[in-house]
């Protein structure tokens, strides 16, 4: 059975903007010396690694790590570094949102129409009354739900995608994750390597609060990774299961 492949990961921490931030922005960014490229304006610093296809944006009200890569070990390492360095260097004690988001593709060896049939049967009601109301042939669909599992919340989107639609849903960060010298060719290759037909899963897991503390960010991150992995794997198993349970 195909497995869900993480094509994009974003980790973001939001905080209340304060005036002292402007003096702390550049020194904070300098601590993350693993990123070879950078750009800045008055309100943000962007640190980039074109080879590893990742970046971090440090702003006046949030910092966010983003990667367009399947390398989860790298993601763990880079997010950990950001969490160790940035809150203390930016002198932030209290946060108001932690967010962790992953976009997956499950490559399937079937036609788009067949995939739509499976998702329709497995994710939507097959009540005879409803089916009588709706037109007979489902051509395309999208499954979109928000959940809460206190203190956490989810935005979830699942749907079948054609290769041509994938760039729009994955939303590759061209500017920060590809070298400008070879950007066009590289991106073309990336698009060519997308599967013909896939299930797109977008899980945005987050926690909001007026006084979230730094310690909570670590436990949030651990929980977010575990929950999202479990969600994506279990959903894949559910959608394409061909074994009867004992």
């Amino acid at each position: 059975m195909e497995k869900p492949v993480p094509y994009k990961t974003i980790f973001q921490i939001n905080y209340k903007p304060e005036l002292k931030f402007y003096d702390l922005l550049i020194p904070s960014a300098q601590r993350l010396d693993e990123y070879p490229h950078w750009r800045t304006d008055v309100r943000t610093v962007i640190l980039r690694d074109y080879d590893k296809h990742c970046s971090i944006i440090i702003g006046h009200k949030s910092f966010a790590y983003e990667q367009d890569s399947e390398d989860t070990d790298m993601e763990i390492k880079y997010i950990q570094r950001a969490l160790e360095e940035l809150p203390s260097s930016l002198q932030i004690e209290i946060f108001n949102r932690f967010g962790y988001r992953r976009k997956y593709l499950i490559n399937v060896k079937m036609s788009f129409e067949s995939l739509v049939s499976i998702l329709h049967v497995k994710l939507f009601s097959q009540d005879a009354k409803l089916r009588n109301i709706l037109p007979p042939h489902v051509e395309d669909l999208m499954y979109r739900l928000d959940f809460s599992d206190k203190p956490y919340r989810y935005h979830v989107t699942v749907g079948p995608v054609h290769k041509a639609e994938m760039p729009r849903y994955i939303n590759y960060n061209l500017e920060n994750h590809l070298d400008p010298q070879v950007r066009e060719e590289e991106y073309k290759k990336i698009i060519e390597n997308y599967p013909k037909v896939a299930v797109f899963i977008d899980i945005d897991f987050y926690q909001e609060g007026d006084k979230l503390k730094k310690d909570e960010s670590t436990s949030f991150l651990k929980t977010a990774r575990a929950k999202i992995n479990e969600f994506a794997n279990d959903l894949t198993e559910y959608l394409f299961n061909i074994e009867l349970e004992a």
Partner: protein, 234 residues
């Protein structure tokens, strides 16, 4: 998207017949055997409503016309057992059905397991509550799932097995008359056959025969299918 209009435009008269079966080659076939085979395989009233089809023996002695929604099934079932022609018919009929809106085997398998899981759960509950009012709830759920499966995966040959069992249960509320042991047997049959990758007409027949052996009456009512035999040659 698949062009579903092909379903009504396909010329079935010649399209599904392999070369070797055209014309005089079918002369020796026993049409009564066809009839019996069809009666066994397509026993449901629902089928009759959804897929009206007609088989005639023309001057040259081959199947002249087949119409209907369930092309692969209908075509496959007109082959007499043991004639050695089954595979050719089935294979050719699949080629025809490819051009209409036919699900891939992998999709059939996934959907089959999905529905059968629900059916097996209900069967366990019926066994548990047999002869009690609660059994009716699970019987209703069971029959509903079977009909939904039939509507959603009409091209899956496994549906033949499911609907044969459905008819045994649904007709005159016969589900109430079977014993827990019979339900256990039905559970085991469905569990065994749902895992088969390739469901041929033989497989379908074997499964239905096993239901019959357990005492499930899979053809509890008569059919009103029309078979026209061209009398010119007879």
């Amino acid at each position: 998207m698949t062009d579903t209009s092909a379903r009504t435009e396909t010329n079935l008269t010649e399209a599904f017949l392999p070369e070797g079966l055209r014309g005089q080659e079918l002369e020796h076939l026993n049409w009564d055997e066809y009839k019996r085979e069809i009666t066994t395989r397509r026993p449901t009233g629902q089928e009759e409503k959804e897929a009206k089809w007609q088989i005639t023996r023309g001057q040259t002695g081959y199947i002249e016309e087949v119409e209907g929604e369930r092309l692969s099934t209908s075509i496959a079932t007109v082959v007499p057992i043991g004639s050695g022609l089954e595979k050719q018919f089935i294979q050719t009929s699949e080629e025809v059905v490819e051009t209409v809106d036919r699900a891939e085997p992998q999709v059939n398998h996934i959907l089959r397991v999905h529905f059968i899981s629900q059916i097996l759960t209900d069967l366990r509950q019926i066994q548990k509550y047999i002869s009690k009012p609660e059994a009716a709830i699970y019987a209703d759920s069971l029959l509903l799932t079977m009909r939904t499966m039939d509507e959603i995966s009409p091209f899956d040959p496994f549906i033949e097995i499911v609907m044969a069992f459905h008819d045994a249960l649904a007709y005159k509320n016969n589900w109430n008359k079977y014993s827990p042991d019979q339900y256990e047997g039905a559970y085991q049959i469905l569990k065994e056959f749902v895992q088969k990758q390739n469901i041929s007409s033989d497989t379908v027949e074997k499964a239905i025969m096993r239901f019959e052996k357990l005492g499930f009456e899979t053809t509890p009512f008569d059919l009103d299918m029309e078979f026209k035999v061209d009398s010119e040659k007879d």
